[in-house]
Homo-oligomer: 652 residues x 2
């Protein structure tokens, strides 16, 4: 199959020989409906104007305007890296324009690009905070986010260029990148930015332009990090900045979660272009460590409020999780690159878990309100977020705020949703792989497929071949890690192949137009047991169904049930209730037999000596579990995912 | 019994009619040895010079010097409330001078008082940060800590006056208090300081001076709070500042833990002087809620790093606990006042738990290094604290730092240890109560007792009557909440009385010099079960012995045992090993049968579907538990308190 390179998508390697799988762009994979199709529609119609309005209200655009227009006096407003919010919104719009044209969004890009062009220095430097004089240029890299902001500008320029073929925004980005190359590359500076993202951005700019200096600088910035080149200021140490251990020696993810994972995405990008195996090895080592010991069931990563950072292995308390939305999005970026590199479907599994759970839960069903950090348990119903107001990032309120003082997450969600088509399918020398199941059309070379499904409501997927060239090729269907008994039927005939070691059910034939594959992933409710070393949920289980993590939320429970005082009965069957409309979404809810506990006998006691514990009373109840992503859409509530089991599995 | 009033101790109510128990000062109760006697010795010989040296190194004294001596230029160094560190060290020295005179410490007080006198404004105002021009006076109360610093100055002045009878320091404090009375009291301002402590300090100054205006201002500052009088800035809301709910309506402790409990100490102090029952009711309500739902077994309070604040009910994760040392010390201040008000020994129990566990663990055995926040679990051995360096407060390193950027905790420990004699015994119209068991002499009126014990190594206490006046009076011996089967023998004859409802074993007789009471509190190892709603330690237990919480620390365990992968066997007996010398301390260690788990089968999995869990391997091991307060004195280590049980209690 021949397809364009670069593709209209967020990762498009030039050195394709190291790709086990190759990407397809948002023009080649069009999401046509379903959960994410509807979200993409709202992302354009609701979230984008919402974000643009906030970027004006919170001063982010004005900060840049003032640099180019000295007749507009005023202080810098908001965070010193607020430029990056503008760039991420521009990136989102960029991918969205690839999905479908829009004169209105074109105009937005043109106007904002004008602002950037006016602000940009003659040498390409661009940073509204530094240019306004609040910081010396390149003098405070540990904190200043100068390369970080440039990285997001580059990503926006690349997105816009790939989607529209236009150069206006990427030209601004290139001038900024050239400025960075002169400062860091030519001079071979030994330091770097406290907040990674420039690395992956530069690799992408190299891919888009073919200009080797960008790749070289990305390599340099990956190489210098880890040798204590950033002098920590204030509260955070070198570990926080991923500057304590060189990447090739690193065995696990440490420090600020977003920074660690943006850097890791850059590391895989550098590997893909240079082929340095040590980088891929490190990335896989860190990934394996993270997913086995530092990942929440919801896809949350970064358990600590302190430093927004990864905790120790197995430090995964649901009540005090930080779980920044951006960190999970960064994990999606890493997973996608590792999927392309290795072709192992477990990376697509991780993306699925992150997208349908944490990322979906980070955003209101209306798509105009967001969680910055994402609770995995809520013991008391906290007050709702103030309407139409910005919120500090921490201490997630009872409902999602409209915007944040530090507004990194909402635009990150926007760019992820807008570019989602780019994460759905891949191709290889032998065929096409479907990695995410959603209604879509897939075009690769002469092959055109139509995918129909109500996934994740159920696990039935129909793939119809609309056109093909008559040659033999392989259709790869991801078999999710959670799935047992996946079956495929081609034109009514069952496929007998077993899934491959890489996790795909592969069907090889001389496909013909009109061929229909019916793929079924059984999706019963299942009970999930945590790793035994995760103390915080010891003796507890979670309910899942297909890719969805379920939660218990107070509005759905019988009267007078306190979700802080329930224990599940696994000796009785869970039951499904399908066809439920919840907040306008078709869902399957779960009914779970449980015991409601009455701890009144404990009275004033916080603990008791074994043998003297007060008796607790019990009554039988039926709890109702819903998909986690829907929680906190009906006002403040109590919520939990992992729940104690009355008789632990080992004794049942 | 007649004793002086005020006594030479930290709380000395004037309105004694509301006191169920009355305090005895540090001159009346002299700690003569044992755990706290040795600590008091080191507190004077090691910690005090250490602290004084750091107050010079970190600029805290210089900040004040510069205000009075303009020939010493330089910026304000350290936290904007660093004056309070100087005052708390002065308070500690004040109490220490009551314990035993010291010309050297007298000279320190004289010199520092000179610095304060030179800095103090003509109207009594004193705050080095504001006077240096970094803040407008009284204009930023939500943040400025102006009344907070004055509160600690007052406490220092009161301590010094009570201990030495000298007026030099309290005169400075009174002038500052008079300045506050003019600004807040006379003008009846509706706002107050973001950080309480002034309330309890003013009540104590009233007690010391008899000047009603100080009490009135304390009442006013308690009354205005809770009506949103502080406009929150930045990250924290009214709840953080205890300004969301008036104290009389408050049902639980909320917000910043130290602030909440300093305020509560002031509330009880106001009750003790004014008799307003609603204040005592609120204090008891908040206390009961805290101890049942927001208190760690170690005595830690304030689970959250975010805002150093109380969490939700039962939000008590050991791995992410904040547990600031100052918060537990503040809880001791509240408990002592409630003990005096109610005469219920459970408040002395709480002090005992806090002192022997969290406060003791907050300090190195050498008494020259400290934890600011106190881990209750440590999964990996973190790097040791940098030697001879200050540390940011958060992310406790593997060992205790020497000092902190925000150095509130070490001086708080110092003043608590120096004044400890004041918390040991009380008297009432009918007799004397022993609330804490340690080697001491107790003098109340004509009665003089000698207490001998090796507590908490064992539970045997000998109380000898050295002098008495021949009248009938009652000796009250606290029966700790953890104790079963306490027995007292007087001159060889067993006492048959049962403990009172308030928790004392009372012995009434016409005591004669030479009478000896032998009191025995059985102290077997015991297994402690958490409240069933504390999810974080669900299915786990802790080991305790007497007042001591035990922990498992890696240096004591058999080779190759990973404390993150052990489960206790409660079907086999725990055994004690007495007479152990650990770090120069006589301790009883516990040997606990357990299974060491091998999770290798889990490989890359963070969770599994029920029924598909990989098998874990097991081997039998004997774990060793030591008193928690000794942990992290032998280099970086892994540590845990609550530990999973292989067969949960309900099934054993």
């Amino acid at each position: 199959m021949t397809t364009p390179n670069p593709v209209m998508g967020p990762v498009s390697p030039l050195a394709t020989e190291r790709l086990t799988l190759r990407p397809l762009g948002v023009d080649q994979v069009v999401v046509t409906g379903g959960f994410f199709g509807e979200w993409q529609r709202r992302n354009r119609e609701v979230t984008t104007p919402h974000a643009l309005s906030w970027l004006e209200r919170d001063g982010s655009v004005d900060n840049l305007r003032r640099v180019g227009d000295h007749s507009r006096p005023g202080p810098h407003r908001g965070m010193w890296f607020s430029d990056s919010d503008v760039y991420k919104v521009l990136e989102a719009i960029g991918w969205d324009l690839g999905r479908a044209p829009s004169p209105e969004l074109d105009r937005v890009v043109t106007e904002l690009t004008e602002v950037l062009r006016a602000a940009q220095g003659a040498d390409g430097y661009l940073n509204s905070y530094v240019q306004a004089g609040f910081e010396e240029r390149w003098e405070n890299l540990v904190m200043s986010h100068e390369l970080y902001c440039m990285g997001h500008l580059i990503q926006a320029g690349v997105a816009h260029r790939r989607s529209t073929g236009r150069d206006e925004l990427i030209d601004v980005a290139r001038r900024a990148a050239d400025c960075a190359v002169r400062e860091f590359g030519v001079q071979q500076r030994k330091d770097t930015d406290g907040h990674p993202v420039i690395e992956t951005a530069l690799v992408e700019l190299y891919r888009q332009t073919g200009e080797r200096a960008y790749l070289d600088l990305a390599v340099q910035l990956v190489n210098v990090r880890g040798f204590g080149v950033l002098e920590p200021k204030g509260h955070f140490d070198s570990v926080y900045y991923q500057d304590a251990t060189p990447v090739r020696q690193q065995s696990t993810v440490v420090g600020h979660a977003v920074r660690a994972l943006y850097l890791l995405a850059g590391v895989v990008d550098v590997y893909l272009e240079t082929g340095e195996q040590a980088l891929l090895d490190s990335a896989l080592r860190q990934w394996d460590s993270m997913t086995a010991t530092k990942l929440y069931l919801t896809g949350a990563v970064g358990s600590r409020f302190d430093g927004e950072s990864f905790g120790d292995h197995y430090e995964l308390p649901p009540d005090l999780v930080y779980g920044e939305t951006c960190a999970t999005i960064a994990s999606i970026m890493v997973a996608w690159r590792l999927l392309l590199a290795t072709g192992e479907s477990r990376f697509a599994d991780a993306m699925e878990r992150a997208l349908y759970n944490l990322v979906a839960a980070s955003t209101s069903t209306e798509r105009d309100a967001f969680f910055y950090n994402n609770p995995a348990q809520r013991r008391t119903a906290r007050p709702a977020a103030a309407a139409h107001a910005r919120q500090q990032r921490a201490e997630a309120p009872g409902t999602r705020p409209a915007w944040f003082e530090c507004a990194c997450c909402p635009p990150n969600i926007m760019r992820t949703v807008a570019s989602l088509g780019g994460y759905v399918a891949t191709y290889s020398g032998t065929g096409i792989q479907i990695n995410q199941y959603l209604p879509a059309t897939v075009a690769a070379g002469t092959v055109r497929l139509r995918v129909d499904t109500t996934y994740p409501v159920d696990g039935a997927v129909e793939v119809a071949v609309e056109s093909t060239d008559g040659t033999l090729w392989t259709l790869g269907l991801r078999v999710p890690g959670w799935c047992r008994g996946a079956r495929a039927v081609v034109n009514g005939v069952e496929v007998l192949e077993q899934p491959t070691a890489r996790g795909y059910l592969e069907i090889t034939r001389a496909w013909r137009p009109g061929d229909v594959v019916t793929y079924t992933m059984p999706m019963p409710l299942r009970v999930t047991v945590p790793h035994p070393a995760v103390d915080a949920v010891h003796g507890m289980v979670a309910i899942e169904r297909g890719p969805l993590v379920y939660c218990f939320e107070s509005p759905d429970q019988p009267d007078a049930v306190d979700l802080n005082r329930v224990e599940l009965r696994l000796d009785r069957p869970l039951t499904e209730r399908a066809g439920v409309d919840l907040l306008g979404q078709p869902v399957v809810v779960a009914t779970v037999p449980a015991l409601a506990r009455d701890d009144a006998g404990w009275n004033r006691l916080g603990w008791a000596t074994l043998g003297e514990e007060p008796a607790s009373g019990w009554r039988e109840v039926e709890l109702v579990a819903i998909p986690y992503y829907l929680w906190a859409n009906r006002g403040p509530s109590v919520m939990r995912i992992f729940t104690p089991v009355r008789h632990p599995p080992e004794d049942s």
